[in-house]
Amino acid sequence: MLGTAVKIRVERRLELPRRTSAAISGLLILLSFVVASAVFELLGVNSVRTLSTIVSVFLSPTSLLQAVIRGMPIGLAALGLSLAFRMNFWNIGAEGQLYMGMFAATGVVLLHAYYGAIPEQLLFTTMILASFVSGGLYCTLPGYLKAKLGVNEILPTLMLNYVAILFVDFLVYGPWRDPKGFSFPLSITFPDYARMDGFLGNASYLGLTMALVVAAIVYVLMNWTTIGFEMRVVGQNVDAAKYGGINLLRTTLIGSFLAGGLAGVGGLIIVSGLIGRLRPRASPGYGYTAIIVAFLAGLNPWLIVPASIFFGGLLVAGEAIQAALNLPVAAVQVFQAIIFIMIIVAEFFKRYRVTIRR
């Protein structure tokens, strides 16, 4: 046995049946649980209790609702990302676009509160529109740079995240600070009709509805419309797109606008559904989590909604773990990262078949 060499052969797969693909993904997600447990144990964390806490989050209705609303900003941003990634537009800037959405939504509230500019009934709708446009425009800048000048969009979108976060910092520490807020960097609280729990009782219901509607729109857009077709061709092969008469600039701008806009609406959910006002660092990296969710769901809008609920649940679990086991929320982040890495590794196994022979 010792003398014989083990030969590992790696060859590209010619076809990938659905069952094999699902099996690979499933196996690796299971593996992520194993790896996560190992890491936890190594650090002296009780993995069984940790993982059972996470699972229990999804079993209780109250925490499940919490999971839903926590997951919705992630979900909306991820839906936008599913568009962008299919167009080969690497939008790492979802985080910043979330913040720009928060900015716009809060701005609308302030316009209403201080200047009476918009009537109550139209307020929430205006907030949705404003956050959509704000996030959308913010994303078209890197989109334009890519389409017109060939600037790779990864770093510009990433850099703009920090700019947006600092911008919101500026607003909340400065001109938008609640004068009655005891000098804390917080905006005024939103009135009831500007808050998501004003509708349908629980913010989660509204949030979930919004997400499902958006998922449907994204699905129809990508698969049934000409613009979706154009975006997919651009994502596949830019030469083929040009050859087919597709206008690259127009398509890229539209795609980036939509992606950023959806993230912007995610931002609206944060200030209107989760917090009820604007504060600095309101998003603990939802825009980045959205990237993981988009990949986990294979860019499929229908899978993004449950995946984002799952990740929302992880966040809720994180806080439960913190309370019960005195563990940092970071434990959940490690778990997320491990899942992410496993999904990526799954990609390798989906692309290549590995055989081990003696």
Binding site: L43, G44, V45, W90, I92, L145, L149, G150, V151, N152, I154, L155, P156, L158, M159, L160, Y162, V163, L166, F167, D169, F170, Y173, G174, Y288, I291, I292, F295, N326, L327, P328, V329, A330, A331, V332, Q333, V334, F335, Q336, A337, I338, F340, I341, I344, V345, E347, F348
Partner: protein
């Protein structure tokens, strides 16, 4: 006179604040010059900071640096395995590593876990070290005679060991990159791996080495951030510096010597912002100042895309593209 003193202290502060950027970008330069984009720098940094925190309190600075280098090596090699051998998408792998690193950093920084780990490393450690949220800072080592030079003395000759190391490292890494066979091979791999392969260079090993260096320096940068600059643990203390290092590399056009200037520039902005806040200047201005590095990066990237510029100061042509010998 007071103005000069103030200027001197800002410049010295620029060096202290900038060194974290310098060390990180030196590593990233090697990675990117070999064609591998490492988006996981932020994660490597915070892991380095956390590990240096724990091991310093357990065993002191020397062992801390060793531990940090090992940790960085592991992360760098992990990245290389996923991107060079498995040829997975470098952007996605980098992001995953960042998130993993941030999570690990948070975990390691947690009081309970920290306590257990420190005890495991050194059962005889002082009780105090198990609890405190900080660690001993690296001592300043003033160099006699040179330290008294006006302005430059404060900047370069009254600093701690890691800062001196970073300056030596800059020169050494520049030399290796541009004046040695290995450096030429590395640069060629990043520009045209097919050509390098045909000329007899092992593209895969070269990229592994580059990522190993990048991982070690990334973690080292994080450890500097803690024991060399701000030795009190705050969650997420890297604050995006890892990503700024990426921008810095571009600003420095992948050249270690220019990286020094860029790093100290960013460090200067950071120091200035602190001082202004202390002086009670309106809190708004520092925020716009802080935006500067990010905006400058975008502008630089745009300029670099213009044909005329691209020819001379190129992005390494094969950056981000996995190499297969098909």
């Amino acid at each position: 006179m007071a103005a000069v003193g103030w200027l001197e202290s800002i410049l010295a502060g620029a060096v202290q604040a900038g060194t974290v950027f310098l060390i990180a970008s030196l590593g990233e330069i090697y990675a990117e010059r070999s064609g591998v984009l490492n988006l996981g720098m932020e994660g490597m940094m915070i892991v380095g900071a956390a590990v240096s925190f724990i091991v310093t309190n357990a065993l002191g600075h020397g062992y801390a640096i060793l531990a940090v280098l090992l940790m960085g090596l592991a992360l760098g090699l992990g990245h290389a395995f996923l991107t060079v051998t498995l040829k997975l998408n470098q952007i996605v792998v980098g992001l995953a590593l960042t998130i993993l690193g941030l999570g690990l950093g948070g975990l390691l920084g947690n009081a309970e876990i920290r306590r257990r780990l420190i005890l495991a490393l050194n059962p005889a450690v002082e009780e105090r070290n198990l609890i405190v949220q900080e660690a001993a800072k690296l001592p300043d080592i003033p160099i006699p005679v040179l330290k008294d030079i006006p302005v430059l003395g404060g900047m370069f000759f009254q600093q701690n060991a890691l800062i001196y190391l970073s300056l030596v490292l800059t020169f050494v890494m520049w030399f290796i990159l541009f004046r040695t066979r290995f450096g030429l091979a590395l640069r060629s791999v990043g520009e045209n791996p097919a050509m390098a392969d045909a000329m007899g260079i092992n593209v895969f090993i070269t990229r592994y080495i580059a990522m190993a260096i990048c991982g070690m320096l990334g973690a080292l940068a994080g450890s500097y951030l803690f024991i060399g600059y701000q030795p009190f643990w705050v969650e997420g203390m890297t604050n995006g510096r890892g990503f700024i290092a990426l921008a810095l590399v571009i600003l420095a056009t992948w050249n270690p010597l220019r990286a020094v200037l860029a790093a100290y520039l960013f460090g200067g902005v950071e120091t200035l912002q602190f001082r202004l806040q202390l002086l009670g200047v309106a809190a708004q201005i520092p925020q716009f100042l802080l935006m500067l590095p990010y905006i400058v990066t975008i502008v630089t990237l745009t300029l670099l895309s213009l044909e005329s510029v691209r020819k001379r100061i190129g992005v390494p042509a094969a950056l981000g593209i996995p190499y297969s010998r098909e």
